[in-house]
Amino acid sequence: MKINMKYYGIVAEKMRKQAESIDISANTVEDLINHFSEIKTTDYKVAVNQDIVKADYRLKENDEVVFLPPFAGG
């Protein structure tokens, strides 16, 4: 399944890139997370198509997934 990943802040730093499309075998967000050992120790929330979701969220082809590090606006 094709997933469009975007990376920001400390997550982008650890991933050493800002975006990529990946082809991955994953049913849920939790499955996907298991492929990202780079950010295992990082604090983040997950957004799919710009909404924050839980670990059991079921992914679809072409979803946009972002691991959101802590917010710092203001």
Binding site: Y8, Q50, L68, P69, F71, G73, G74
Partner: protein, 148 residues
């Protein structure tokens, strides 16, 4: 109810200038149904962390999501408060200590609504809008900022 503005970006490159704020205030003088404005400005602090001084913050954002959250936030704010105008701007890129990175401007016939709306928006931005900040120290080292 006042018209909710179309999807104008909240993001602006670099610091928000006092001149921009003055122009924004001046534009409201034709709106003679306004009795109260409340303006919040976030300014970058030269905090001292482990003996190093913050020289500035470099902001990035997940812009599509941030704009969507702000659009929804504007709609909620106009439902909760009696507002005539509402402007929100946040910096992207480098903002030095002493410079302004956030400008929230609520205008209402009455002070309770203007002040309540500004407060509501500031809290929401800090908690729910995906903006990220790298605190850069004077020696060029850095750490990632986290809102409390």
């Amino acid at each position: 109810m006042a018209e909710v503005e179309k999807r104008k970006s909240i993001f602006t490159e670099g610091a928000i200038t006092p001149q921009k704020i003055a122009e924004s205030i001046a534009h409201h003088q034709v709106k003679t149904d306004i009795g109260a404005h409340d303006i919040f400005l976030g300014q970058v602090r030269a905090d001292i962390i482990d003996n190093k001084v913050v020289a500035g913050i470099e902001y990035t954002a997940y812009e599509e999501m941030a704009e969507k959250r702000i659009y929804e936030l504007r709609e909620t704010t106009f439902e909760k408060f009696d507002l005539k105008c509402l402007h929100i701007y946040h910096s992207l890129g480098r903002v030095n200590a002493g410079e302004i990175c956030l400008f929230v401007f609520s205008s209402s016939p009455h002070r309770d609504d203007a002040m309540g709306a500004t407060r509501f928006i500031v809290e929401e931005i800090k908690a729910n809008v995906p903006i990220f900040g790298k605190e850069i120290f004077e020696d060029s080292s850095y750490q990632w900022k986290t809102n409390k």
